[in-house]
């Protein structure tokens, strides 16, 4: 199964943890449903990160299982029922943790790539 998942994530190789980070960050600005999250990530990354929905929903449900996000069914603006996700208190803490880790990683990679 693991091998098969990797094959579909071939647009941009996103580490699993990075997708989680993006989702959590997106939700920090309010409740959103799955489609909305993918649109937001696409928009804010300047159309570069087109999240493969094959990874999006599993990630959403994984985060829900970890209790970092919570879900509820609401009617959207177009009078359509959709499952909205929001960040929980634990999720906020996890987001902070992931952000700091991301910065660490950034610094580390930059250090290695520095051409001096």
């Amino acid at each position: 199964m693991k091998e098969m998942k990797e094959r579909y994530q071939n647009r941009i190789e996103l580490l699993q943890g990075t997708l989680d980070l993006l989702i959590l960050q997106t939700l920090q600005w309010g409740m959103q449903h799955g489609y909305g999250i993918s649109v937001a990530i696409r928009a804010r990354s300047g159309e570069i990160l087109q999240v493969d929905t094959g990874s999006l929903y599993p990630a959403l449900h994984r985060l829900e299982k970890q209790k970092w996000i919570a879900a509820e069914w609401k009617t959207s603006d177009n009078n359509q029922r959709a499952k909205y996700y929001r960040l929980t208190a634990r999720g906020k803490k996890q987001l902070a943790r992931e952000l700091s880790r991301w910065e660490q990683l950034q610094g580390a990679i930059a250090g290695v790539l520095k051409v001096e």
Binding site: M4, Y8, H33, V39, T53, H61
Partner: protein, 894 residues
């Protein structure tokens, strides 16, 4: 997660996905794309919907269920593709698991199962002990019972019942006996146990008062068998030992009494014991011990609280009923005794005490046989998975993880073992019935209630899964280590890999050899022990002797006429054609009846305590001739030894050794125990007879004294006749019947053969010898099949190599030696391990051995010899084939 929640979550996921697609499509439409193109584009962008579903399900953790179902379906198909192999595996598993289940269900029925009464866990059995170190005795006198019944407050309810194992009543009125199993119980027996009537009514306290008329309750089974379940049974009259009893009711189906291993037919109240003895001696005598007592605990009370209350009550209950005919110091010891209670939910059982240990040992034996059988199936699986190398490689290439594959293979194995277990249950039913018939003797018909209860089913299921994993785990791990490229190429693997694949097979066979060697040693020990036991010199000749038991009491013969009647019968029997000699006695050898007393001689420094215990038998003059017991010195009995003559006795050699070490005992006196106010009579010794066994062939010979049967003071309502014949004893029965009937038609007669009686006493040893021999042989066969298969496989694998060697000029004998070297290696490993295991574990069998130490070297050596010979032969056959193989054919095969 329940199925309901699961369905709801799946629906929600569907809705979520659908919603997403709609929104994506709408966005496209807004951007100006055509509607259907928008939908398609959205779906494309979404990706694989099914994959999303699966991945999400995986996260939810449900995938394992889908996978398991898939495994089972796939495994079923694969097993169906090799029907012969599957059938062989299932059949051998069925035998192995069936044997285990059979023995376990016997252990369950005899040892573990609780009585089928109301809340059996609340039942406690009452026992009495002297000091804290003594073993508590479960038998009480009737006065003690009445005291407990009337004055105890520790139990919620108590009841008593007769503890005979031979409580049988003759239903016939004269002639051949027709026995019904009887229980004598107190009035509240059924009430405290919580048993309900199936017809009529059951006992109440009213039915159990002194002087009661005879009433009886039938068991459900007896009501069906004897009366056909007719309603008219209630109220009818039953003749028990020629006394009339009125049937007042039938107990509920499924209740077989307190005695596990027996089932009762009739229950009568304690007070009716007086009807049989014409007086109330059994009810009033303080030294006749015949009742067991049990009770139901009060709710909320613990065992410790119960026992402390009983300890307080004991002196109050025992003092009023102290046996007044005992010596003063014994009386003092009596009132100091303490009543103790222990859990009684599993009832009492003679069968349990006899067979618990043998059954446990047999459980170990069949367990080992199953392991050996599993080893064979593991080898089968190994060979088969080697053939499936390609399939496994393809699946691995498609992305299956190793764990997934192993799970798949294990599922197949558990499927096999489950099928074997299901079939095994049927075998087990048949096997346990057979076992019960084996342990039933003429005197003790064993009855057990085999129900397929949770314990037995759980045991079978657990064994099925364990077995499947056991024989599947090694092949599964081995075969999934396949190198993809080599397997795909389809060719034979390299030599080194081949040799590596063979190593586990070697270990498997070596362990089979070791385990079956242990079983062979065990079988050898039991067989030799049994052979020694049957060869023991019993001191009498057991062949061609018919035993006839006549009960004059039931025939209502007046006591004064007993002696005359018996003598008349004995004369008639002696005159029958085909009779060599005849005699009569109080008890016959190796029966369950015994009479013993502490004996004293005139010599003050004689043996005391246990050493003074002497066993009595009362016999007629013809007894010794009938049993071929030689009188070594002095004389036998004769007409002068009548009721009124001097009290004489013939003693055995052991008694002489113990009481009259250097002196000639003939003419000396001995006497029994003096009672206060009733000194024992002095008995003169007139002869010495050769030692013989009294109660069991295993015993250290007792000191025995034979007294003339004419001088017996009591217990002569029934006597035994021993008739030695030239022909088959059973052929004499009609003539005997006529002879006895000629004296008195009403006398009930019971027949038995002495040889059969002696054999029956060895039932426990026979069971162990037969079954351990059978399973030991089976284990050897299985191990040899394993060895043969393994060597065969080896030879096939190395066929090319052998061909090359031969082509290069090697002598056929060298090939033979190569193969045999491997065989020897396995054997040496296996036998060494087996001998160590056997030496370490046989100590536990010591108590069951007779005339043999458990760590008997000769037996071990013999077992090793048998194993080595058979194994050598099993390995020799394929080795010879390798030697004879044509090298050209071998090379061409590659």
């Amino acid at each position: 997660m329940s199925w309901w929640t699961r369905k709801r979550k799946e629906e929600q996921l569907e809705e979520e996905v659908r919603g997403h697609l709609e929104m994506a499509a709408r966005e496209r439409v807004e951007r100006g794309v055509a509607a259907d193109e928008a939908a398609r584009g959205a779906r494309r962008e979404f990706g694989n919907v099914e994959l999303v579903r699966e991945t999400t399900r995986d996260i939810w953790g449900w995938n394992w269920l889908q996978d398991a179902a898939q495994d089972v379906r796939y495994g079923w198909r694969i097993l169906g593709r090799t029907p012969v192999l599957t059938a062989v595996a299932v059949f051998s598993l069925a035998l192995g698991i069936g044997a285990n289940t059979a023995i376990f269900s016997l252990i369950d029925a005899v040892v573990l199962q609780m009585l089928p009464v109301h809340k059996p866990e609340e039942l406690m059995q009452l026992k009495m002990r002297g000091t804290a170190a003594d073993r508590p005795q479960p038998t009480f006198t009737n006065p003690i019972w009445e005291e407990v019944r009337d004055h105890q407050d520790a139990f919620a309810g108590v009841f008593a019942w007769s503890s005979f194992t031979h409580g049988q009543f003759d239903l016939a009125r004269g002639g051949p006996v027709q026995y019904a199993n009887g229980v004598i119980a107190s009035g509240n027996f059924f009430a405290v146990l919580g048993v309900r009537p199936a017809a009529g009514r059951l006992f109440t306290a009213e039915d159990d008062r002194r002087g009661c008329p005879g009433v009886a309750v039938l068991s459900y089974g007896f009501w069906q068998d004897h009366f056909g379940g007719a309603a008219s049974a209630v109220g009818s009259t039953l003749s028990l030992d020629n006394h009339n009893f009125q049937v007042i009711g039938v107990s509920a189906a499924g209740f077989y009494g307190m005695d596990v291993g027996n089932k009762f037919d009739v229950v009568i109240p304690i007070c009716s014991q007086a009807i049989f003895t014409d007086d109330e001696t059994w009810l009033t005598r303080r030294s006749t011990w015949w009742l067991d007592i049990a009770g139901r605990m009060k709710p909320g009370m613990s065992e410790e609280q119960l026992n402390s209350r009983l300890a307080v009550l004991s002196p109050q209950l025992l003092t009023p009923v102290v046996p007044t005919n005992w010596q003063a110091e014994n009386q003092r010891e009596f009132v100091k005794r303490v009543l103790v209670a222990s859990p009684g939910g599993t009832g009492v059982s003679f069968v349990r005490s006899q067979f618990q240990q043998p059954l446990t040992i047999l459980m170990g034996v069949v367990g080992l046989v199953l392991v050996i059988a599993c080893a064979n199936i593991a080898s089968l699986m190994l060979a088969r998975s080697a053939a499936r190398g390609k399939e496994i490689a393809v699946r691995k290439a498609l992305g299956a993880s190793r764990g997934r594959l192993i799970r798949q293979l294990l599922t197949e194995c558990v499927l096999l073992s489950s099928a074997g277990a299901a079939l095994g249950l049927a075998f087990a039913r048949w096997g346990s019935t057979l076992l019960v018939r084996f342990i039933s003797t003429a005197q003790d018909q064993v009855f057990l209630d085999f129900s397929l209860n949770g314990r037995v089913l759980g045991f079978t299921a657990a064994i099925a899964v364990l077995t499947g994993v056991l024989f599947g785990v090694l092949p599964a791990f081995r075969s999934t280590r396949v190198s993809l490229t080599a397997a795909m190429k389809g060719g034979q693997a390299e030599d080194s890999e081949r040799r590596m694949r063979f190593r586990p097979a070697k270990w498997i066979v070596a362990s089979q050899v070791a385990l079956s060697l242990v079983l062979l040693v065990g079988a050898g020990l039991f067989l030799r022990s049994f052979a020694k036991l049957t060869a023991v010199d019993a001191g009498f000749d057991r062949n061609n002797v018919l035993l006839v038991n006549a009960n004059l009491k039931t025939a209502k013969v007046p006591a004064e006429q007993y002696v005359a009647t018996y003598e008349a019968i004995e004369q008639r029997l002696k005159a029958l054609p085909g009779v060599v000699s005849a005699g009569r006695s109080f008890t016959t050898p190796v029966s369950h009846m015994e009479w013993n007393e502490d004996v004293h001689t005139d010599d003050a420094g004689g043996p005391v305590g246990d050493a003074a215990l002497t066993y009595y038998n009362f016999v007629s003059a013809g007894y010794f001739a009938a049993l071929r017991m030689p009188i070594i010195e002095g004389r036998g009995f004769d007409k002068g030894d009548s009721k009124t003559g001097t009290k004489v006795a013939i003693v055995n050699e052991t008694m002489v050794r113990r009481f009259f070490r250097n002196k000639n005992p003939i003419g000396q006196y001995f006497r029994g125990e003096d009672e206060p106010g009733n000194p024992a009579a002095r008995i003169q010794i007139v002869g010495i007879v050769k030692d013989s066994k009294y109660d069991s062939l295993r015993e250290e010979t007792f000191a025995q004294a034979f007294l003339p049967i004419t001088q017996i003071l009591e217990g002569d309502e029934r006597e035994n006749f021993e008739i030695r014949t030239l022909m088959q004893p059973s052929a004499l029965i009609p003539a005997v019947q006529e002879a006895v009937g000629g004296v008195n038609k009403e006398i009930p007669i019971e027949y038995r053969m002495l040889s059969r009686q002696v054999d029956d006493s060895l039932v426990q040893e026979r069971l162990l010898a037969t079954l351990s021999g059978f399973f030991g042989g089976l284990a050897l066969l299985l191990a040899m099949i394993g060895l043969y298969g393994a060597v065969n496989y080896l030879v096939n694998q190395r066929r090319a190599e052998f061909g090359i060697r031969r082509a290069l000029g090697a002598h056929p004998g060298a090939i033979f030696q190569l193969v045999m070297r491997d065989v020897m290696g396995i054997l040496v490993m296996g036998i060494a391990a087996g001998v160590c295991l056997a030496a370490a574990s046989v100590g536990v069998l010591q108590k069951l051995m007779f005339g043999l130490a458990a760590r008997d070297t000769a037996t071990i050596v013999a077992a090793v010899g048998v194993m080595a010979t058979v194994a050598f032969f099993a390995g020799y056959l394929p080795a010879r084939r390798a030697m004879r193989a044509d090298p050209m054919a071998a090379l061409r095969y590659e």
